[in-house]
């Protein structure tokens, strides 16, 4: 079944059964392995992408539901040869990355938040991460990094 959607601002077409998880299409058909198959059951959030600007767990999103929509992955946040965006930079500056397997999903969840609200408070930041498990950091430095971006200092506290 052919499906076409916008992926990181480029139109793509793939031929896959309707119910194929978007995550599989991204990873094994389109070569984007930034979204991680942490649990493949919608619980860990490591595969979070944006579908029409809203966070979605791509492991449970059938490719058919991406039809005609805009899909954005972690790879869209910065040009491969360009500087990091403020959220990416802040996560590193504040030590919010350890193993990093949850990081792509965390970044996409926070991206959706910051696009809605450029100055979220701590409660809003935590709310936006409700669906993302990080087993390494205990979350504090991730929240700190997001607060720093919300404070408008580009992640440098």
């Amino acid at each position: 079944m052919p499906h076409s959607f916008t992926l990181n601002e480029r139109r793509v077409e793939v031929d896959a059964p309707d119910m194929t998880p978007l995550l599989s299409v991204l990873r094994s058909r389109l070569g984007l392995t930034g979204a991680k198959p942490g649990c493949a059951e919608g619980r860990c959030g490591a595969c979070t992408v944006l579908v029409d600007d809203r966070p979605a767990v791509s492991c449970l999103t059938p490719v058919a539901l991406a039809e005609g929509r805009s899909v954005r992955t972690v790879e869209s946040l910065a040009d491969p040869d360009g500087p990091l965006n403020p959220l990416q930079d802040a996560l590193l500056e504040h030590g919010g990355v350890q193993c990093g397997a949850c990081t792509p999903g965390i970044l996409m969840a926070l991206t959706a938040l910051f696009e809605r609200d450029a100055t979220p408070d701590e409660a809003a930041i935590k709310e936006s991460l409700a669906g993302n498990i990080c087993r390494c950091t205990g979350y504090h430095k991730i929240v700190e990094a997001a607060l720093a971006v919300a404070g408008g200092n580009g992640g440098r506290s």
Binding site: R27, S28, G31, L32, T33, G34, A35, K36, P37, G38, C39, A40, E41, R43, C44, A46, T73, V74, E75, L77, A78, P80, L84, Q88, D89, L91, L92, E93, H94, G95, V97, Q98, C99, G100, A101, C102, T103, P104, L107, K126, L129, A130, N132, I133, C134, R135, C136, T137, G138, Y139, H140, K141, I142, V143
Partner: protein, 770 residues
């Protein structure tokens, strides 16, 4: 003064990680490889009557199917070598591999697994420790006596391993005691649950097995593969990918042997990744345990003697639990003065999924038991709980139960620092918020821990552009030990910036033997090796630069990427020029350092079956927690958490804090709800929906006091820092809950149901509670 050490330098792998460009084990071979799947046992115990793969092999896309018949008839293991690669005749747990399929696609591999014909004659399944220890119980390993061992230890049938610590006249201490207190505790399995599941990609190249996997201890994986595949270790190469979390669960080999054999059979690269269900049901969790402990105390609360008996569930095969069997005894007798002690740990075979290392290994439950037991003693004596601990805690220069003297213990400072942050004397008890009654309580506890003494080595070279290269087999598990700390140490040594230091990813073909990312050892061991290598590199640089600068090497120093004459900063030459000149004069600049921690000095007569005999490079920890308990729902909320931790010296304070935050939250999960339940041999928690991991909402406020206690044999004074923050958490949270509800806590996790049951019990038999 240091220039780079002690700063919060960024991690080398961070840029790739935030761009989604880092290649993890789960990303390796996503395309262009064959995909593999395991047929796993559906029963906990049985004999394979018939295993037929012909029909499955004829299915579309199937390239190879292997079973026990395709691999050497051998068993492997780290300490006790009792595990076959595939169940050969006897099946010992649900999920045990029976066959492996490689096919063009995962769907084809799954279809072939479903088509394999398997008939099993069931055997009586011994699915808990009581059943396995019962008089006349069936032997789970009838051939237990024939298994090879890395080191000998006491064993007996379903007792896979026994470790004892026996020192002094314990019976006399109990006979003379003012008070004897006894307790029993049970604790659950806890799953590491890194975001990245186990994954491996195997190739067979030039007659050698090459496997890429997120391995914490690549040389152990290499050696396990060599044993299972029946080849010398040099025929195996393990390349470590970016690791998406491990926490002990990726120390041992898991999927690697299957992809190796399938790659040889098919001539193709083969990839195998666990599903989340396979992770939870077969990738070894922290073991469940039963602890019985009994202490003799004097009227003023002095511990006179102690005995403890620990049963640890090994599951069907042996891993790190055997290696760490002595650790509960060391925890019981390693923090508070226990003049005479008798400790025994028995590691018990059961027909359940094998258990394995999880951060802190058996430390968290041993400390949980000891600290609740101390609370019980304090209550019996009518003594303040903190005061009891202060009276008994080890002071610098005193000996612990194994006879080891802790020269640099800083517990008093630890207790004092915690008290500055969260004063113990400040009241808690019952409070009302918004008209609702809530219960509040506090807990405090201390523990000694170790820096894993395993060996390591590092080669440092100066590249011809003046940067440094480091070659070692230290796996970057995510802690930043390699990606941040090791870079900082080499940069400090050679007058470079961290970005000028390039570290090769761990590879058993390239790096010197390394004891693995475990027990906080990576930066301690490789930092020492790198300091040693850097000193030689420095000498080589100065010798070549002395000719260029027409100065004596003794007058030269390394700074800002140059060799310069000390005191006359104008007279200098860039490292690039020195390295290029060296190529044709002294030879390329390169040196290797190595490190091993000297053995712990202890009373060697008191221990048996102990692979860890004491606390190598000991570290000291004091934690406290304040909790709120809702009497209506039983929900426990951690209001405040304080950690005082001796790290020797922090090479990168930010990364150390990150380790503490993460360890505390993993410990909180263990204390309150993480419980990998096993019923009749079935691991019933098969998804992250029912095995719940802590989320951002459960992360309590954490205050941290890093205790500066430089270790003379550590790099820049550093000790191990990554592992131990998880260990005291369940102990102090349980103490705090117990304080809040006025009832003892004897089991983990402390669920709302347990809290409500304890509170109901209270209303039936009232105790002093406002």
């Amino acid at each position: 003064m240091t220039r780079v050490v002690g700063t919060n330098a960024r991690r080398a792998d961070g840029d790739d990680k935030v761009r989604g460009a880092a290649v993890y084990g789960m990303d390796t071979g996503e395309t262009g490889t064959l995909q593999a799947k395991l047929l796993r046992s559906p029963v906990a115990a049985g004999r394979i009557r018939r295993l037929a793969t012909e029909r499955a092999a004829a299915l579309p896309g199937v390239r190879a199917i292997i079973t026990a018949a395709d691999v050497p008839d051998t068993t492997s293991g780290w300490i006790l070598k009792d595990q076959p690669m595939f169940a050969r005749e006897e099946i010992r747990y649900i999920g045990e591999p029976i066959a492996a399929v490689a096919a063009d696609t995962l769907e084809q591999a799954e279809a072939a697994v479903a088509a394999i014909e398997l008939e099993i004659d069931p055997l009586e399944a011994l699915t808990d420790m009581d059943a396995a220890l019962a008089e006349g119980a069936r032997l789970i390993h009838p051939a237990w006596e024939s298994y090879p061992m890395l080191a000998p230890g006491p064993r007996d049938g379903n007792v896979a391993w026994e470790s004892t610590l026996d020192r002094g006249d314990v019976d006399a201490a109990f006979a003379a005691a003012h008070l004897v207190v006894s307790d029993e505790f049970t604790t659950q399995r806890q799953h590491q649950s890194p975001i990245e599941p186990h994954a491996a990609v195997g190739r067979f190249e030039s007659g050698r097995y090459v496997v890429h996997s997120p391995a914490q201890f690549p040389f152990l994986v290499r050696d396990r593969l060599a044993e299972w595949l029946g080849v010398p270790a040099s025929k195996v190469r393990v390349v470590v990918t970016t690791i998406g979390g491990g926490f002990g669960g990726k120390i041992d080999a898991m999927l690697e042997p299957f992809v190796c054999v399938l790659a040889r059979k098919t001539g193709r690269a083969v990839r195998l990744v666990n599903t989340r269900q396979e992770e939870l049901q077969t990738a070894g969790p922290r073991e469940n345990a039963v602890i019985r402990i009994r202490t003799a105390v004097s009227a003023n609360g002095e511990i006179l003697g102690q005995e403890a008996d620990t049963l640890a569930d090994n599951g069907a095969y042996s891993g790190e639990i055997v290696a760490c069997a002595a650790v509960p005894g060391l925890v019981f007798g390693g923090t508070y003065r226990v003049p005479v002690a008798r400790y025994r740990t028995r590691v018990i075979y059961t027909n359940t999924a094998p258990t394995a290392a999880f951060r802190g290994v058996n430390g968290p439950y041993a400390m949980f038991a000891l600290e609740q037991h101390l609370d019980h003693i304090a209550a019996e004596l009518g003594m303040d709980r903190r005061e009891l601990r202060l009276r008994n805690v080890i002071k610098a220069g005193e000996a612990i139960a194994n006879g080891q003297v802790l020269d640099d213990a800083v517990f008093e400072e630890g207790f004092a620092r915690v008290d500055e942050i969260a004063p113990w004397a400040a009241g808690t008890a019952e409070v009302s918020t918004g008209g609702r009654k809530v219960l509040r309580g506090k807990g405090i506890g201390a523990v000694t821990w170790l820096t894993n003494p395993g060996p390591g080595g590092a080669t440092v070279k100066i590249n011809e552009d003046g940067t440094a290269g480091v070659i070692c087999a230290g796996a970057e598990i995510g802690s930043g030990a390699v990606a941040a700390g090791l870079r900082q140490i080499v940069a400090e040594e050679l007058g470079l910036t961290p970005d000028d230091v390039i570290i090769l990813a761990a590879d058993t073909d390239a790096g010197t033997y390394d004891g693995g990312a475990q027990g906080s050892r990576t930066l301690f061991s490789l930092g020492n090796a790198a300091v040693q290598a850097s000193a030689q590199v420095r000498e080589q640089l100065l010798e070549v630069a002395a000719n260029l600068l027409e100065a004596s090497p003794a007058d030269l120093e390394l700074a800002d990427g140059h060799v310069q004459v000390a005191g006359s900063p104008g007279a200098k030459v860039p490292l690039a020029a020195v390295a290029q000149t060296a190529l044709y004069t002294a030879g390329p600049i390169s040196a290797t350092g190595r490190h091993i921690t000297p053995p712990v000095q202890f009373d060697s007569g008191c221990l048996a079956g102990a692979l860890f005999t004491g606390f190598a490079t000991p570290t000291y920890h004091v934690h406290s927690a304040e909790v709120e308990v809702c009497p209506d729902t039983g929900k426990v909320t951690v209001l405040r958490y304080v950690v005082a931790q001796d790290v020797g010296r922090a090479i990168n304070p930010q990364q150390v804090e990150g380790q503490i935050h993460g360890g505390v939250l993993q410990g909180l999960g263990y204390a309150l709800y993480e419980d990998l339940r096993v019923t009749d041999g079935v691991t019933v928690d098969h998804s992250l929906e029912n095995y719940r991991l802590p989320t951002v909402f459960e992360a309590p406020p954490i205050d941290i006091a890093l205790l500066d206690n430089p270790w003379p044999d550590g790099p820049y004074g550093a000790k191990g820092a990554g592992e131990p923050s998880i260990i005291p958490v369940a102990a102090v949270i349980a103490s705090a809950v117990s304080d809040a509800i006025g009832k003892p806590i004897r089991n983990l996790p402390i669920t709302p149901f347990d809290v409500l049951a304890a509170l109901r019990e209270e209303s039936e038999s009232p105790v002093d509670q406002p």
